[in-house]
Symmetry: C2
Amino acid sequence: MTVPKTAADAVKVSRPVAGQDLDASSDDGLLHLGELSGLLGYSLKRAQLRVFEDFLRCVAPLQLTPAQFSVLLLLDQNPGRNQTEIASTLGILRPNFVAMLDALESRELCARMRSASDRRSHILVLTDKGRAVLARAKKLVANKHEARLIELLGPENHAALLEMLAKIAREF
Amino acid sequence: MTVPKTAADAVKVSRPVAGQDLDASSDDGLLHLGELSGLLGYSLKRAQLRVFEDFLRCVAPLQLTPAQFSVLLLLDQNPGRNQTEIASTLGILRPNFVAMLDALESRELCARMRSASDRRSHILVLTDKGRAVLARAKKLVANKHEARLIELLGPENHAALLEMLAKIAREF
DNA sequence: CGATAATTGTTATTAGTTATATCAAACGTC
DNA sequence: GACGTTTGATATAACTAATAACAATTATCG
């Protein structure tokens, strides 16, 4: 028997399991996550979605996505770099970075300037407006977004979490 | 212990020394991440991508994506549920879940069966083949994927990480 | 030097994911 | 039995991510 012919058959076939109802909910609408809750990737993705969602809310007045914010931050920290360098540092493919830059540039948050030493490449610079928006964004992120996370986890746990995630991204 | 009380509890990974970060790279090709490394969302996404990538590698012989694996796991743990229940538990929108199920069903890993009590809904069941594939996948995930993560972080840190991510997904 | 290879930004295109609106069939309720 | 709701499904639109190719420029090296 590969596929049960009726729902009743199917339920019968599956092991109803004795007293393994430690979790909760056989009937209250909630489903058993089971080993899913032990899967790091699952929790990781779920948490990431929540965090991005909150980021968007907090920084909504400035109309910046997490990716755009990270570009502005990186430009501020690394003046004189070209598109390839910025994109690859952020894990963005060069072709996809073009449209991203177009959007930021059309809002006059940054600008492309032809390099004197290599006329193929564009040196990326923040405009004054870009710096101003970044400064405001940083405050919103720190005071509304990260502050809430730190409050939820506690400062030490928050730091430990960051450390572990960075380690995974670096060494895994 | 739900969430470790201190960072020392939770993490033994090295902490960057103050000042080390100041000029990590002016010319060595590496860019300053700056405050980006303190942004939880950024590390979260980077780590999540790495973990999913490794998951895919480890479970490649079975041709299962993380999302597909999570569906099989959930079906195993929750017999007798319909599409809406499974999809919403996983945060998948019902329309998008249809194609996912089509794929799993075409591989005969699960099946839709009309419910006797409500002829609108499809009761989802794992097939024998589905259970077999799930069992093999669990082993691959545990022995190759999660084992490597636990080795990287240490068992306590790994548990603490899971706990914190779950907390974010739940309460943030 | 000059031919060849490599790099930069770009375009086009494809695949993949996520979201919204709508539909027919079936159900619940009054 | 009429009305609103739910379920699975379809179509479609946004958005993200990935690959191939191209012109302009630079680097390599015989």
